[in-house]
């Protein structure tokens, strides 16, 4: 079969592929991971690349304009290699360059982190991660005292420290003779406490700086964030994040489960997150902190149910089909080597337990961090990331559900959507008269797209300006060159930024399909929350606190989120934002050994409500897809604002 070489700019990565190979697949093979939320099905239009030279075939798509085509822009998933090619991929399109807000070095003194830690300490939970070190000196062997190295160590540990019956891994044993002799039999032995006694996890020179480290990881569907923590000083010493490389197989959990069911798919998609994402981030962390991977001896992982299944390589197929059964809620205690995490192979791996197929360890982790489990008052906890998960309750009762919100809050399924990163418009206001927008862009760069908080602002402002009605339809009556008809898609659109001011020279627009997608997402979240409350006879008025977490970002304007009917119209002082609560909970489980039991208790205590079988859910959902809602009594302050107009 004929071979062609494809070179990807600007990285200059190249690959030799068989003629006819799909360009997105060629990029994957070359290690250039292009974000493809729809999984390469030609639906989302996100995998835009620029063909510099070379022969190719392509499938026709309405997702590219004739201007795009003139510039050489193509969708990688619809392009097939026919000869040697040179292709340019915008850095920000590459999955591995996606950044996410997480916990940074020094954040152990951050208010959110301190508050979450305090919640545990108030319950008598001590900041003890279960690691202890023993500095020991063994008598050197002789013909008269010719006991083996391992038995010598055991003898001295028993006599001098009363430590008996510990486990020792083969890896530690393998190098014990050399390490003992290189250090004249004076070593530091590091033990890890466990359910069934201690484990000797490392012996090392004791004169060196031999600290021990842990990592906590948030495995998001879209992004993965990792923190490196010094287990002796309890300091966060490095942080790293990137897109989840699984995105090349689809943007949402369903398309990934489907991919996992293909031949070899489960192994590939597991490897994409373990080797391609987490291990790469670990490389970055140990370089930043200048430490050895072998010294990372505990790791905690929080992710949704599908993510934890794929992370472990466990069959996820039945998550997707009724009655929606995951393989496990709580996974057995594992070691890094069981999964292939590139730290000390014997390192403890703690995976935060799941609740059900669509409420996972990320939410349990969030519940730990928010303290709902010990709260007297009624808390509504909303994690608005790639999907949307809701928890309602207090120390006596916790209900939870998953809304099918999709990735809209992170800019997914929205033509101009993007994540909150440099180039994203995160704040928008529209002049009521001129209909001209005023925008704020993250970073000192030209705008590239609009992130979740920007989209919320945009919809609220378009609504208040009369550009859209309560159904999300764009007015054909208003006089503005920003409002126009898209001949290709046959829908109305509004131009947020003209092409001359944008990073890629294309107009940043929002059209009625985008608006409809966003309304479905916000409708799913609101109606989900409402049904959850109703299922136990409560209403939004009974909510004492609303805690918002997830990728929607810190710049969320509560007022606008209420205006569009995403958040309930209640006292604004009840709202707070906790950021990446999944990572925060994983951080707590790393540093507080007892927190690992606490998350199990939390997962056990949470009752999952399957919205799809709840009788009134569909009606609730449809009502919530309007701006702000069909029942305006639920949004009194919005009603009064509209009446003022």
């Amino acid at each position: 079969m004929e071979k062609c070489t494809v070179i990807f700019k600007p990285s200059n990565k190249s690959i030799s592929v068989t003629k006819g190979t799909n360009l997105l697949e060629a990029a994957r093979k070359a290690g250039v991971f292009i974000d493809a939320p729809c999984g390469g099905k030609g639906r989302c239009g996100k995998c835009r690349v620029k063909i510099i030279s070379g022969d190719y075939k392509e499938e026709i798509t309405s997702l590219l304009t004739s201007e795009d085509r003139q510039k050489g822009i193509r969708l990688a998933c619809l392009t097939f290699v026919e000869g040697d090619m040179i292709v340019e991929v915008e850095e920000s399109k590459q999955v591995q360059n996606i950044l996410v807000e997480g916990i940074k070095p020094g954040d152990e003194k951050n208010e959110r982190v301190l508050k979450a830690s305090k919640l545990l300490e108030e319950e008598g939970i001590k900041k003890e991660c279960g690691v202890f070190n023993i500095d020991i000196e063994l008598p050197e062997p002789s013909i008269d005292d010719n006991v083996a190295d391992f038995e010598r160590l055991k003898r001295e540990l028993k006599v001098k420290y009363n430590i008996e019956n510990f486990f020792c891994s083969l890896n530690v044993l393998k190098n014990m003779p050399k390490i003992l002799r290189e250090n004249n039999f004076k070593v530091r032995a590091t033990f890890l406490k466990g359910k069934n006694g201690c484990e000797l996890i490392r012996i090392k020179a004791r004169n060196k700086e031999t600290s021990t480290y842990g990592i906590c990881v948030d495995i998001g569907t879209t992004t993965v964030a990792v923190n490196l923590i010094d287990l002796e000083s309890n300091k966060i010493i490095a942080a790293a994040s990137s897109g989840n490389l699984q995105m090349q197989y689809g943007g949402d959990v369903i398309s990934r489960i489907i991919y996992a069911s293909t031949e070899g798919g489960l192994e590939k998609i597991k490897s994409a997150v373990v080797d391609g994402t987490i291990n790469r981030l670990i490389d970055e962390l140990v370089k930043k902190a200048n430490i050895e991977k072998q010294d990372i001896i505990i790791s905690t992982f929080a992710g949704n149910t599908t993510m934890t299944h794929l992370f472990l390589g466990v069959e996820p197929a039945y998550i997707r089909v009724e009655p929606y059964i995951p393989a496990f809620r709580e996974c057995p205690e594992l070691k890094a080597k069981d999964i292939g995490i590139d730290i000390n192979p014997e390192a403890k791996v703690i995976v935060i337990p799941n609740v059900a197929s669509y409420v996972g360890g990320d939410i349990v982790s969030g519940v730990l961090a928010t303290g709902i489990w010990k709260e007297e008052k009624n808390v509504l906890f909303m994690d608005l990331g790639t999907n949307g998960e809701i928890v309602f309750g207090n120390k006596d009762l916790m209900l939870t559900c998953a809304c099918s919100a999709g990735p809209a809050f992170e800019g997914g399924e929205i033509s101009c959507g993007m994540r909150a990163m440099p180039g994203a418009i995160d704040e928008i206001s529209i002049d009521r008269k001129t209909l001209e927008p005023k925008i704020r862009v993250i970073g000192n760069v030209k705008p590239k797209g609009i992130c979740g908080s920007g989209l919320i602002d945009l919809l609220a402002e378009m609504f208040l300006s009369g550009i859209i009605n309560s159904k999300g339809e764009i007015s054909k009556e208003l006089e503005s060159d920003r409002i126009r008809f898209d001949e290709d898609l046959y829908v109305m659109e509004y131009v947020v930024v003209w092409g001359k001011e944008t990073a890629d020279g294309r107009d940043i627009t929002i059209n009625e399909i985008d608006i409809s997608n966003f309304l479905k997402a916000k409708g799913a979240v609101y109606s989900g929350s409402n049904v959850l409350l109703k299922s136990v006879g409560f209403s939004m008025d009974d909510v004492d606190k609303v805690i918002i977490a997830g990728g929607i970002g810190q710049n969320l304007h509560i007022e606008n989120a209420i205006m569009i009917g995403l958040l309930p119209d209640i006292d604004r002082s009840k709202f707070s934002y906790i950021g990446n609560s999944s990572l925060l909970g994983a951080y707590l489980c790393l540093l507080y050994e007892q927190a690992r039991d606490k998350v199990k208790e939390i997962a056990d205590a949470m009752t999952y409500v399957e919205l799809s079988v709840y009788p009134s859910y569909m009606d609730e959902f449809i009502s919530a897809c309007f701006l702000p809602h069909t029942d305006m009594n639920l949004f009194p302050s919005v009603m009064s604002l509209l009446n003022q107009k």
Copy 2:
């Protein structure tokens, strides 16, 4: 660099190597494993190959005759590839084709095996290997009972069988969803009992023939033997053995430890026994028995201290240097995946503990099988394999030592020596007048060499015939064309079989160097035993039983072994032969869970005597290198026989 292709006959395996590559190394790379007891140093002359065609360079050696050279015979280790070559390797020279006597299918009813089992059962130890099966039916999941698969299984096991808090490996969890559904939630769960609770090791259809299996393995320096046992019927269902592929790196433990210290050497030599030998034998076993490897869930391994270190990939360097310290005596409990044994990755691996650097788990295993640990009487246990290890004692005291006997009892370091396999002369008598020998050959084939029992016969008969004196010197006075002078080696030799009657057409001879080597081996064993006894104030007269084990074979003539001074001159009824006691002990540890504790107790109870530091040892050794001994009072029956002459 120029490449040359070498083809090895008769297997037709070929390899491309750089010009100048050593031919033994080329054979290793091609997967043709030639026995090289000296490790390729040109000393032993065993790696003879026949060059069919091609260019090569060679180093000069006195180990080949001019006749050999004319026939194209060369030593692989002294030959260097200079062009494309075709080389013939005799099948029996290939390590993997070496066979060993072990335990065969059906041997569970063999007297030796029954006797060893009875020794345990008399102490109340039950034939329980620690495996149990639960046939369980789970209620199928529904929206109302949407508990995860693993939690569903746990719930039912708790409710119906009161089984709680078991471990479950990731491997079992990974496929649990599919296995449950393929079997309509009716499955057989197999558990393995352990120190810290049970482990769920397998779930499988319960309607199939789903037995569980174990393997017991004797890792000898020279040979490896494996038995496959059905853990439900307790029957031995298959057996396999071969040479230890580590032999390509040297015949004795010292040369292997040296090889392990070279760059990458430890990994290679570990792989030679694990992948190259044991996993290949497992392949053979599962094919013979037609079972799945996944169903092998327990494995036991007995080997000497160096073998257990190399098997596990543990640094062996300090075994070799004073004060001779192994890395471990008792290794931690391991799983097959930790080592790379190709059975169920979660299968339990039990390695019989060592006593000291030169008395290993093979001897502890032998002590278990012989019952010395519960014996009232004084037992002398001699394992005469590649080295020679001795145990003396009873239930109150057990002493042990290692003799530096080398591989002479298995035919090593003897020019005409070979292992007890087809073609080996295992019995010899010499006519006192004609000095013509009468031989017996194993198998219906022409003789190739002489094995241990044959060498003992030969030396005794040569001594009684007056061909050799008590120093092992061959008489120059006797009239026989079988007695001649070897011009190359400048020593006398005796022709046992003329070339016209042998397999390869070469005379089978024994020379004074061979005799001297064999006398040193037998001297080491006798003096070792004697010093061991003396160290606690005993003499050979205090020995009530002598149990002989190891590769020396069943055909050992006790009378001749006493004649040459290998065995003590005591009542012949005290002697018995137990065969491969290392494998027998491993077999017991597989089937009797409590035997695994017993071997630990035995290893703890054994006192190691380091002969090299024992004051009178060197004198004892020198005296024992004579035929039968310088102190004829120790051999009264030999004295009286010689006096009769």
